[in-house]
Amino acid sequence: MSTDNDDLTPGLQALADALSESRERMPTKARLAARRRILRAVRSDTRWGAQRAAFVRAAAVFTAGVTLMGTMSFAAARSLPGDWLYDVKRGSENMVVAVLPDGALERSVLVRIAERRAEEVSRIASDDGGEDRVGPALERFRIAVRDMLGANGADGGDAVEAELRLLGRIREMNREVQERLEAVVSDVAGEQMNGTSPDGSGAPSGGSTEPPESGGPQAPDSPSSPSGPGPGDGGSGGTQGDDSGQPAPSGSGESSGTPQKKP
Protein backbone atom coordinates (compact mmCIF):
# COMPACT_ATOMS: atom_id res chain seq x y z
CA MET A 1 0.00 0.00 0.00
CA SER A 2 1.12 3.57 0.45
CA THR A 3 4.27 4.77 2.08
CA ASP A 4 2.12 5.38 5.13
CA ASN A 5 2.69 1.71 5.93
CA ASP A 6 6.43 1.67 5.57
CA ASP A 7 7.03 0.87 9.18
CA LEU A 8 4.79 -2.18 9.34
CA THR A 9 6.55 -5.45 9.99
CA PRO A 10 6.12 -8.08 7.28
CA GLY A 11 3.64 -9.98 9.45
CA LEU A 12 1.47 -6.93 10.03
CA GLN A 13 1.76 -5.91 6.41
CA ALA A 14 0.51 -9.36 5.41
CA LEU A 15 -2.41 -8.91 7.75
CA ALA A 16 -3.11 -5.47 6.29
CA ASP A 17 -3.11 -7.01 2.82
CA ALA A 18 -5.45 -9.75 3.96
CA LEU A 19 -7.76 -7.08 5.36
CA SER A 20 -7.85 -5.16 2.12
CA GLU A 21 -8.79 -8.33 0.30
CA SER A 22 -11.43 -9.34 2.80
CA ARG A 23 -13.67 -6.38 2.11
CA GLU A 24 -17.21 -7.63 1.93
CA ARG A 25 -19.51 -6.29 -0.73
CA MET A 26 -23.14 -5.63 -0.10
CA PRO A 27 -25.25 -8.30 -1.83
CA THR A 28 -26.34 -7.03 -5.24
CA LYS A 29 -30.03 -7.48 -4.64
CA ALA A 30 -29.96 -5.59 -1.36
CA ARG A 31 -27.76 -2.90 -2.87
CA LEU A 32 -30.10 -2.28 -5.77
CA ALA A 33 -33.20 -2.33 -3.58
CA ALA A 34 -31.65 0.19 -1.21
CA ARG A 35 -30.59 2.31 -4.16
CA ARG A 36 -34.16 2.45 -5.45
CA ARG A 37 -35.53 3.46 -2.08
CA ILE A 38 -32.86 6.07 -1.54
CA LEU A 39 -33.36 7.64 -4.95
CA ARG A 40 -37.09 7.68 -4.44
CA ALA A 41 -36.58 9.57 -1.20
CA VAL A 42 -34.07 11.87 -2.83
CA ARG A 43 -36.36 12.71 -5.73
CA SER A 44 -39.27 13.40 -3.46
CA ASP A 45 -37.17 15.85 -1.49
CA THR A 46 -38.63 19.27 -2.20
CA ARG A 47 -35.74 21.26 -0.81
CA TRP A 48 -34.05 21.41 -4.15
CA GLY A 49 -36.82 22.32 -6.54
CA ALA A 50 -35.75 25.83 -7.51
CA GLN A 51 -32.06 25.17 -7.20
CA ARG A 52 -32.19 22.04 -9.32
CA ALA A 53 -34.18 23.76 -12.01
CA ALA A 54 -31.67 26.61 -12.07
CA PHE A 55 -28.80 24.19 -12.26
CA VAL A 56 -30.30 22.24 -15.12
CA ARG A 57 -31.11 25.44 -16.98
CA ALA A 58 -27.61 26.82 -16.49
CA ALA A 59 -26.10 23.57 -17.64
CA ALA A 60 -28.31 23.46 -20.69
CA VAL A 61 -27.39 27.01 -21.63
CA PHE A 62 -23.74 26.29 -21.14
CA THR A 63 -23.93 23.10 -23.14
CA ALA A 64 -25.66 24.87 -25.96
CA GLY A 65 -23.03 27.60 -25.89
CA VAL A 66 -20.26 25.07 -25.97
CA THR A 67 -21.86 23.32 -28.90
CA LEU A 68 -22.39 26.51 -30.85
CA MET A 69 -18.91 27.77 -30.35
CA GLY A 70 -17.37 24.45 -31.13
CA THR A 71 -15.50 24.60 -27.85
CA MET A 72 -12.11 24.39 -29.37
CA SER A 73 -10.23 24.65 -32.53
CA PHE A 74 -9.56 21.87 -34.93
CA ALA A 75 -5.91 22.03 -33.95
CA ALA A 76 -6.74 21.53 -30.31
CA ALA A 77 -8.99 18.63 -31.11
CA ARG A 78 -6.22 16.94 -33.05
CA SER A 79 -3.60 17.57 -30.40
CA LEU A 80 -1.86 14.71 -28.71
CA PRO A 81 -0.39 14.37 -25.23
CA GLY A 82 2.68 16.55 -25.07
CA ASP A 83 1.26 19.19 -27.40
CA TRP A 84 0.59 22.46 -25.70
CA LEU A 85 -2.97 22.46 -27.01
CA TYR A 86 -3.65 19.11 -25.43
CA ASP A 87 -4.36 20.75 -22.08
CA VAL A 88 -6.92 22.96 -23.80
CA LYS A 89 -8.58 19.89 -25.22
CA ARG A 90 -8.69 18.06 -21.91
CA GLY A 91 -9.77 21.17 -20.07
CA SER A 92 -12.73 21.75 -22.34
CA GLU A 93 -13.74 18.10 -22.06
CA ASN A 94 -13.63 18.31 -18.29
CA MET A 95 -15.66 21.48 -18.34
CA VAL A 96 -18.40 19.98 -20.45
CA VAL A 97 -18.60 16.81 -18.39
CA ALA A 98 -18.68 18.86 -15.22
CA VAL A 99 -21.82 20.72 -16.13
CA LEU A 100 -23.88 18.03 -17.80
CA PRO A 101 -26.78 17.21 -15.55
CA ASP A 102 -28.44 14.51 -17.53
CA GLY A 103 -27.36 10.89 -17.42
CA ALA A 104 -27.94 9.97 -21.02
CA LEU A 105 -26.27 13.06 -22.42
CA GLU A 106 -23.36 12.78 -20.08
CA ARG A 107 -22.91 9.16 -20.98
CA SER A 108 -22.75 9.91 -24.66
CA VAL A 109 -20.13 12.60 -24.05
CA LEU A 110 -18.09 10.20 -21.97
CA VAL A 111 -18.32 7.65 -24.76
CA ARG A 112 -17.07 10.27 -27.17
CA ILE A 113 -14.19 11.16 -24.86
CA ALA A 114 -13.22 7.51 -24.58
CA GLU A 115 -13.24 7.29 -28.36
CA ARG A 116 -10.85 10.19 -28.46
CA ARG A 117 -8.51 8.51 -26.02
CA ALA A 118 -8.63 5.39 -28.17
CA GLU A 119 -7.80 7.45 -31.21
CA GLU A 120 -4.89 9.07 -29.39
CA VAL A 121 -3.46 5.67 -28.54
CA SER A 122 -3.59 4.61 -32.16
CA ARG A 123 -2.08 7.82 -33.44
CA ILE A 124 0.74 7.74 -30.93
CA ALA A 125 1.43 4.10 -31.74
CA SER A 126 1.35 4.85 -35.46
CA ASP A 127 3.73 7.75 -34.93
CA ASP A 128 6.32 5.36 -33.56
CA GLY A 129 5.60 6.60 -30.08
CA GLY A 130 7.75 4.76 -27.60
CA GLU A 131 6.42 2.89 -24.65
CA ASP A 132 6.80 6.02 -22.58
CA ARG A 133 4.09 7.65 -24.70
CA VAL A 134 1.92 4.66 -25.54
CA GLY A 135 1.75 3.47 -21.93
CA PRO A 136 0.31 6.70 -20.50
CA ALA A 137 -2.03 7.01 -23.48
CA LEU A 138 -3.35 3.53 -22.81
CA GLU A 139 -3.79 4.44 -19.17
CA ARG A 140 -5.78 7.53 -20.15
CA PHE A 141 -7.92 5.35 -22.37
CA ARG A 142 -8.53 2.95 -19.51
CA ILE A 143 -9.54 5.82 -17.23
CA ALA A 144 -11.88 7.19 -19.87
CA VAL A 145 -13.52 3.78 -20.22
CA ARG A 146 -13.81 3.56 -16.45
CA ASP A 147 -15.48 6.98 -16.31
CA MET A 148 -17.82 5.88 -19.02
CA LEU A 149 -18.71 2.75 -17.09
CA GLY A 150 -19.19 4.86 -13.99
CA ALA A 151 -21.82 6.79 -15.86
CA ASN A 152 -23.89 3.76 -16.67
CA GLY A 153 -26.34 4.08 -13.83
CA ALA A 154 -29.27 4.92 -16.00
CA ASP A 155 -32.29 5.40 -13.86
CA GLY A 156 -35.21 4.78 -15.99
CA GLY A 157 -36.72 3.51 -19.14
CA ASP A 158 -34.57 1.31 -21.28
CA ALA A 159 -31.66 1.23 -18.87
CA VAL A 160 -30.74 -2.34 -19.70
CA GLU A 161 -30.79 -1.68 -23.40
CA ALA A 162 -28.69 1.45 -22.97
CA GLU A 163 -26.14 -0.43 -20.92
CA LEU A 164 -25.95 -3.23 -23.45
CA ARG A 165 -25.31 -0.68 -26.16
CA LEU A 166 -22.65 0.93 -24.03
CA LEU A 167 -20.94 -2.37 -23.30
CA GLY A 168 -21.03 -3.24 -26.99
CA ARG A 169 -19.39 0.06 -27.79
CA ILE A 170 -16.71 -0.47 -25.15
CA ARG A 171 -15.94 -3.93 -26.50
CA GLU A 172 -15.69 -2.47 -29.95
CA MET A 173 -13.33 0.29 -28.85
CA ASN A 174 -11.14 -2.15 -27.00
CA ARG A 175 -10.96 -4.31 -30.08
CA GLU A 176 -10.07 -1.34 -32.25
CA VAL A 177 -7.26 -0.25 -29.95
CA GLN A 178 -6.00 -3.81 -29.77
CA GLU A 179 -6.09 -4.24 -33.53
CA ARG A 180 -4.31 -1.01 -34.19
CA LEU A 181 -1.60 -1.74 -31.67
CA GLU A 182 -1.14 -5.19 -33.16
CA ALA A 183 -0.97 -3.65 -36.61
CA VAL A 184 1.77 -1.28 -35.52
CA VAL A 185 3.67 -4.02 -33.75
CA SER A 186 3.50 -6.31 -36.76
CA ASP A 187 4.59 -3.43 -39.01
CA VAL A 188 7.63 -2.84 -36.86
CA ALA A 189 8.38 -6.55 -36.68
CA GLY A 190 8.00 -6.81 -40.46
CA GLU A 191 10.37 -3.93 -40.99
CA GLN A 192 12.91 -5.43 -38.68
CA MET A 193 12.69 -8.77 -40.45
CA ASN A 194 12.81 -7.15 -43.83
CA GLY A 195 15.33 -4.41 -43.34
CA THR A 196 18.06 -6.42 -41.63
CA SER A 197 20.09 -3.24 -41.64
CA PRO A 198 21.73 -3.10 -38.26
CA ASP A 199 21.36 0.62 -38.02
CA GLY A 200 17.66 0.04 -38.65
CA SER A 201 16.85 3.22 -40.44
CA GLY A 202 13.66 3.50 -38.59
CA ALA A 203 11.41 5.18 -41.10
CA PRO A 204 9.19 2.80 -42.95
CA SER A 205 9.93 2.90 -46.61
CA GLY A 206 7.04 4.33 -48.48
CA GLY A 207 3.57 3.30 -47.73
CA SER A 208 4.51 0.14 -45.93
CA THR A 209 1.54 -1.53 -47.43
CA GLU A 210 3.82 -4.16 -48.84
CA PRO A 211 3.75 -7.12 -46.58
CA PRO A 212 7.01 -8.61 -45.54
CA GLU A 213 8.31 -11.22 -47.90
CA SER A 214 7.19 -14.10 -45.85
CA GLY A 215 3.72 -12.78 -45.71
CA GLY A 216 3.84 -12.67 -41.96
CA PRO A 217 1.12 -11.19 -39.90
CA GLN A 218 -0.78 -8.72 -41.94
CA ALA A 219 -1.43 -5.31 -40.63
CA PRO A 220 -4.99 -4.52 -41.45
CA ASP A 221 -4.88 -1.20 -43.12
CA SER A 222 -8.20 -0.07 -41.91
CA PRO A 223 -9.50 -2.27 -39.21
CA SER A 224 -13.16 -2.94 -39.59
CA SER A 225 -14.68 0.45 -40.00
CA PRO A 226 -15.10 1.45 -36.40
CA SER A 227 -18.17 3.50 -36.60
CA GLY A 228 -20.02 1.23 -38.93
CA PRO A 229 -21.01 -1.74 -36.87
CA GLY A 230 -21.57 0.36 -33.80
CA PRO A 231 -24.47 -1.03 -31.90
CA GLY A 232 -27.36 1.24 -32.41
CA ASP A 233 -27.51 4.60 -30.79
CA GLY A 234 -27.68 6.35 -34.06
CA GLY A 235 -24.30 5.18 -35.22
CA SER A 236 -22.45 6.62 -32.37
CA GLY A 237 -19.03 5.73 -33.61
CA GLY A 238 -17.28 8.30 -35.64
CA THR A 239 -20.05 10.56 -36.65
CA GLN A 240 -19.65 14.12 -35.66
CA GLY A 241 -22.11 16.16 -33.80
CA ASP A 242 -24.55 13.37 -33.20
CA ASP A 243 -24.92 14.30 -29.61
CA SER A 244 -25.55 17.77 -28.55
CA GLY A 245 -23.05 19.13 -26.18
CA GLN A 246 -20.17 17.20 -27.47
CA PRO A 247 -16.99 19.10 -27.32
CA ALA A 248 -15.92 17.78 -30.66
CA PRO A 249 -15.32 20.33 -33.31
CA SER A 250 -18.17 20.31 -35.65
CA GLY A 251 -17.70 19.61 -39.24
CA SER A 252 -15.08 17.93 -41.19
CA GLY A 253 -11.83 17.56 -39.48
CA GLU A 254 -11.57 15.07 -36.80
CA SER A 255 -12.43 11.73 -38.21
CA SER A 256 -12.82 9.99 -34.96
CA GLY A 257 -12.64 6.65 -36.59
CA THR A 258 -9.54 5.17 -38.01
CA PRO A 259 -6.52 7.26 -37.45
CA GLN A 260 -4.40 7.43 -40.52
CA LYS A 261 -1.22 5.54 -40.44
CA LYS A 262 1.81 7.57 -41.14
CA PRO A 263 2.71 7.39 -44.77
Binding site: G11, S22, R25, M26, P27, I38, R52
Partner: protein, 187 residues
Protein backbone atom coordinates in the same frame (compact mmCIF):
# COMPACT_ATOMS: atom_id res chain seq x y z
CA UNK B 1 -14.15 6.09 -11.11
CA UNK B 2 -11.53 8.82 -11.23
CA UNK B 3 -10.98 11.36 -8.51
CA UNK B 4 -12.08 14.12 -10.82
CA UNK B 5 -15.29 12.35 -11.61
CA UNK B 6 -16.05 11.83 -7.94
CA UNK B 7 -15.44 15.50 -7.18
CA UNK B 8 -17.78 16.45 -9.94
CA UNK B 9 -20.46 14.10 -8.66
CA UNK B 10 -20.13 15.53 -5.18
CA UNK B 11 -20.51 19.07 -6.49
CA UNK B 12 -23.60 18.08 -8.41
CA UNK B 13 -25.10 16.20 -5.49
CA UNK B 14 -24.51 19.19 -3.25
CA UNK B 15 -26.47 21.18 -5.81
CA UNK B 16 -29.36 18.74 -5.47
CA UNK B 17 -28.71 16.41 -8.38
CA UNK B 18 -30.34 13.08 -7.52
CA UNK B 19 -28.67 11.26 -10.37
CA UNK B 20 -25.23 12.29 -9.15
CA UNK B 21 -26.11 11.17 -5.66
CA UNK B 22 -27.12 7.79 -7.07
CA UNK B 23 -23.72 7.45 -8.62
CA UNK B 24 -22.03 8.42 -5.37
CA UNK B 25 -24.07 5.71 -3.73
CA UNK B 26 -22.76 3.23 -6.29
CA UNK B 27 -19.21 4.32 -5.59
CA UNK B 28 -19.33 4.23 -1.81
CA UNK B 29 -21.94 1.70 -0.81
CA UNK B 30 -19.55 -1.22 -0.57
CA UNK B 31 -17.13 0.70 1.57
CA UNK B 32 -19.82 1.82 3.93
CA UNK B 33 -21.25 -1.67 4.07
CA UNK B 34 -17.81 -3.13 4.83
CA UNK B 35 -17.43 -0.77 7.75
CA UNK B 36 -20.93 -1.35 9.06
CA UNK B 37 -20.42 -5.10 8.80
CA UNK B 38 -17.29 -4.84 10.88
CA UNK B 39 -19.45 -3.57 13.73
CA UNK B 40 -22.78 -5.28 13.11
CA UNK B 41 -22.81 -9.02 12.74
CA UNK B 42 -26.23 -9.43 11.16
CA UNK B 43 -26.00 -8.85 7.39
CA UNK B 44 -29.62 -7.77 7.29
CA UNK B 45 -29.14 -5.14 10.00
CA UNK B 46 -25.98 -4.01 8.27
CA UNK B 47 -27.89 -3.48 5.04
CA UNK B 48 -30.49 -1.39 6.85
CA UNK B 49 -27.87 0.73 8.54
CA UNK B 50 -26.04 1.21 5.24
CA UNK B 51 -29.22 2.49 3.66
CA UNK B 52 -29.77 4.81 6.60
CA UNK B 53 -26.26 6.19 6.16
CA UNK B 54 -27.02 7.31 2.62
CA UNK B 55 -30.39 8.75 3.52
CA UNK B 56 -28.71 10.78 6.25
CA UNK B 57 -25.96 11.75 3.86
CA UNK B 58 -28.54 13.12 1.45
CA UNK B 59 -30.25 15.07 4.21
CA UNK B 60 -26.95 16.67 5.17
CA UNK B 61 -25.31 17.02 1.80
CA UNK B 62 -26.31 20.62 1.26
CA UNK B 63 -24.06 21.52 4.17
CA UNK B 64 -21.12 19.48 2.94
CA UNK B 65 -18.04 21.54 2.29
CA UNK B 66 -15.15 19.76 0.65
CA UNK B 67 -12.69 22.24 2.06
CA UNK B 68 -13.54 21.10 5.55
CA UNK B 69 -13.42 17.34 5.39
CA UNK B 70 -12.72 14.78 2.66
CA UNK B 71 -15.95 13.24 1.41
CA UNK B 72 -15.02 9.74 2.55
CA UNK B 73 -14.24 11.04 6.02
CA UNK B 74 -17.53 12.93 6.09
CA UNK B 75 -19.40 9.80 5.01
CA UNK B 76 -17.57 7.74 7.59
CA UNK B 77 -18.72 10.03 10.39
CA UNK B 78 -22.29 9.62 9.29
CA UNK B 79 -21.83 5.85 9.22
CA UNK B 80 -20.35 5.79 12.68
CA UNK B 81 -23.21 7.83 14.08
CA UNK B 82 -25.72 5.60 12.31
CA UNK B 83 -24.18 2.52 13.89
CA UNK B 84 -24.31 4.08 17.34
CA UNK B 85 -27.93 5.12 16.73
CA UNK B 86 -28.72 1.60 15.58
CA UNK B 87 -27.36 0.15 18.78
CA UNK B 88 -29.15 2.73 20.85
CA UNK B 89 -32.44 1.85 19.26
CA UNK B 90 -31.82 -1.83 19.75
CA UNK B 91 -30.90 -1.17 23.38
CA UNK B 92 -27.47 -2.74 22.98
CA UNK B 93 -23.97 -1.47 23.13
CA UNK B 94 -21.45 -2.02 20.37
CA UNK B 95 -20.05 -5.49 20.32
CA UNK B 96 -16.53 -5.47 21.62
CA UNK B 97 -14.34 -7.81 23.60
CA UNK B 98 -11.33 -7.14 25.71
CA UNK B 99 -8.38 -7.27 23.38
CA UNK B 100 -5.80 -6.12 25.88
CA UNK B 101 -4.60 -9.70 26.38
CA UNK B 102 -4.33 -10.22 22.67
CA UNK B 103 -2.43 -6.98 22.29
CA UNK B 104 0.23 -8.23 24.65
CA UNK B 105 0.95 -11.23 22.43
CA UNK B 106 4.00 -10.98 20.21
CA UNK B 107 1.56 -11.05 17.37
CA UNK B 108 3.73 -9.89 14.53
CA UNK B 109 6.14 -12.70 15.17
CA UNK B 110 3.80 -15.52 15.86
CA UNK B 111 1.45 -14.86 12.96
CA UNK B 112 3.51 -15.50 9.91
CA UNK B 113 2.55 -15.14 6.28
CA UNK B 114 1.51 -18.74 5.95
CA UNK B 115 -0.99 -18.43 8.78
CA UNK B 116 -2.35 -15.17 7.44
CA UNK B 117 -2.60 -16.67 3.99
CA UNK B 118 -4.58 -19.55 5.35
CA UNK B 119 -7.01 -17.35 7.18
CA UNK B 120 -10.10 -16.89 5.12
CA UNK B 121 -11.45 -13.46 4.45
CA UNK B 122 -14.53 -14.21 6.52
CA UNK B 123 -12.42 -14.91 9.55
CA UNK B 124 -10.46 -11.73 9.15
CA UNK B 125 -13.71 -9.80 9.00
CA UNK B 126 -15.04 -11.68 11.98
CA UNK B 127 -11.96 -10.83 13.99
CA UNK B 128 -12.59 -7.14 13.34
CA UNK B 129 -15.52 -7.24 15.72
CA UNK B 130 -13.06 -7.98 18.51
CA UNK B 131 -11.49 -4.56 18.09
CA UNK B 132 -12.60 -1.41 19.79
CA UNK B 133 -14.78 0.91 17.79
CA UNK B 134 -11.93 3.27 16.99
CA UNK B 135 -9.48 0.53 16.16
CA UNK B 136 -11.93 -1.06 13.76
CA UNK B 137 -12.59 2.31 12.19
CA UNK B 138 -8.90 2.91 11.63
CA UNK B 139 -8.30 -0.53 10.19
CA UNK B 140 -11.31 -0.38 7.90
CA UNK B 141 -10.55 3.09 6.60
CA UNK B 142 -6.88 2.43 6.13
CA UNK B 143 -6.96 -1.03 4.61
CA UNK B 144 -10.41 -1.54 3.21
CA UNK B 145 -11.08 1.99 2.05
CA UNK B 146 -7.46 2.77 1.16
CA UNK B 147 -7.65 6.13 2.89
CA UNK B 148 -4.51 8.07 3.73
CA UNK B 149 -3.41 8.61 7.30
CA UNK B 150 -4.29 12.25 6.91
CA UNK B 151 -7.86 11.58 5.84
CA UNK B 152 -8.38 9.01 8.57
CA UNK B 153 -7.03 11.51 11.07
CA UNK B 154 -9.50 14.08 9.77
CA UNK B 155 -12.37 11.62 10.00
CA UNK B 156 -11.61 10.71 13.59
CA UNK B 157 -10.48 14.17 14.69
CA UNK B 158 -7.03 12.96 15.71
CA UNK B 159 -3.45 13.57 14.68
CA UNK B 160 -1.72 11.47 12.04
CA UNK B 161 0.72 10.22 14.65
CA UNK B 162 -2.12 9.04 16.85
CA UNK B 163 -3.72 7.24 13.92
CA UNK B 164 -0.44 5.57 13.06
CA UNK B 165 -0.04 4.30 16.60
CA UNK B 166 -3.67 3.21 16.70
CA UNK B 167 -3.30 1.40 13.39
CA UNK B 168 -0.30 -0.47 14.74
CA UNK B 169 -2.07 -1.46 17.93
CA UNK B 170 -5.16 -2.51 16.02
CA UNK B 171 -3.21 -4.74 13.66
CA UNK B 172 -1.34 -6.32 16.53
CA UNK B 173 -4.57 -6.93 18.37
CA UNK B 174 -6.12 -8.41 15.26
CA UNK B 175 -3.12 -10.64 14.69
CA UNK B 176 -3.34 -11.70 18.31
CA UNK B 177 -7.00 -12.62 17.97
CA UNK B 178 -6.32 -14.61 14.81
CA UNK B 179 -3.34 -16.35 16.39
CA UNK B 180 -5.41 -17.30 19.42
CA UNK B 181 -8.16 -18.66 17.19
CA UNK B 182 -5.61 -20.58 15.23
CA UNK B 183 -4.07 -22.02 18.39
CA UNK B 184 -7.49 -23.02 19.69
CA UNK B 185 -8.19 -24.88 16.51
CA UNK B 186 -4.91 -26.69 16.39
CA UNK B 187 -4.22 -27.15 20.02
Amino acid sequence: MSERHIEKLIARAVAGDAYAFGKLYDSYVDRIYAYVRSRITSPHDAEDVTETVFLKAWEAISSYDDRGLPFTAWLFRIARNAIVDGYRRAGRSPQTVDVSAAESLPAADCVDDAVIGAVEAARVRGALSALTDEQAAVVVMRFMWDMSLRDVAAALGKTEGAIKAMQHRALRALAGVLAEESNDEHG
